[in-house]
């Protein structure tokens, strides 16, 4: 769930989503859900002439399972906070594992 929460903090930032079929779509992150499906607004497609089917499209819903990378704006990411959250999640997972084994 950490990445879900993380992406929620990036709403309204410009991101570029690279798909497994090599299409890269840049747009404003509007929404994300538990499967990391992504909704982008005001999109522009890198190498647009290669993908003519996207030229009349203004916003996209991208299925999480087809995403290869999400390029993030560096200044929108609070790395120490993310590190903290990761440690917290890891320790929570560890204590949960301990509880269930005892």
């Amino acid at each position: 769930m950490l990445f879900f929460s993380f992406f929620k903090t990036l709403v309204n930032h410009e991101v570029t989503v690279e798909l497994k079929n090599d299409i890269s779509v840049r747009g404003t992150l509007k929404s994300v859900d538990q499967y990391l499906n992504i909704k982008l607004d005001d999109i522009s497609v890198v190498e647009e002439m290669k993908y003519p089917h996207l030229s009349s499209v203004k916003n996209v819903f991208i299925r999480g399972s087809v995403v290869r990378y999400v390029h993030l704006p560096a200044n929108a990411v609070d790395t120490p906070l993310l590190e903290d959250a990761t440690r917290r999640e890891a320790s929570q997972a560890a204590s949960k594992a301990k509880q269930s084994s005892s």
Partner: protein
């Protein structure tokens, strides 16, 4: 989606991750969060309902139709669907009708800007379905062959391809 709207507070229950229970003193204060029902598949698809969409499937097909129904898996019902084939500088539309698309086959779907409805950028020209279909078939066979040899070379280095020899466009 029990008639929640985006301004309602979230349901009571365990706080979502990222919000901390009060005993977590010394932790950074929680970031103010948007209501959680904004961040569901349902909320994302809800405002696309009854809109004209372009759906790109995992096998490279492009469907254009009106979204009539959907569920949390991204299964879709499309009405008055056409399939648009692109090849070289040509395209053609094939009338397909009603579609129920299983969610796993969807790669991307986009709302068509009605101001730019059916706009296809200049070098592309509409052509005969038969002609485009034949060209498409030839190109697919070619791509498949190229992809196969690429996968073979990669496999020699111990890589396993993402698309398992299936050309994706």
């Amino acid at each position: 989606m029990e008639n929640l709207n985006l301004h309602d507070a979230g349901p009571p229950g365990p706080p979502p991750p990222g919000q901390h229970p009060p005993q977590n003193l010394g932790m950074p204060p929680p970031v103010p969060q948007l209501p959680p029902q904004m961040f569901t598949t349902a909320a994302q698809l809800l405002d696309l309902t009854d809109k004209k969409l372009m759906v790109a499937l995992r096998d490279g097909r492009k469907l254009i139709g009106v979204l009539r129904s959907w569920d949390q898996f991204g299964n879709l019902v499309l009405q008055d669907t056409i399939e648009r084939l692109f090849v070289q500088n040509l395209y053609a539309d094939i009338e397909r009708g009603l579609f129920l698309v299983r969610g796993e086959n969807v790669s991307l779907l986009g709302e068509i800007d009605l101001d730019k409805d059916d706009y296809v950028p200049p070098p592309f020209q509409q052509a005969d379905v038969e002609k485009v279909f034949a060209l498409r078939k030839a190109e697919n066979a070619m791509n498949k062959k190229l992809d196969k040899s690429k996968q073979k070379k990669l496999a020699a280095f111990g890589f396993e391809g993402e698309h398992h020899g299936e050309a994706i466009l």
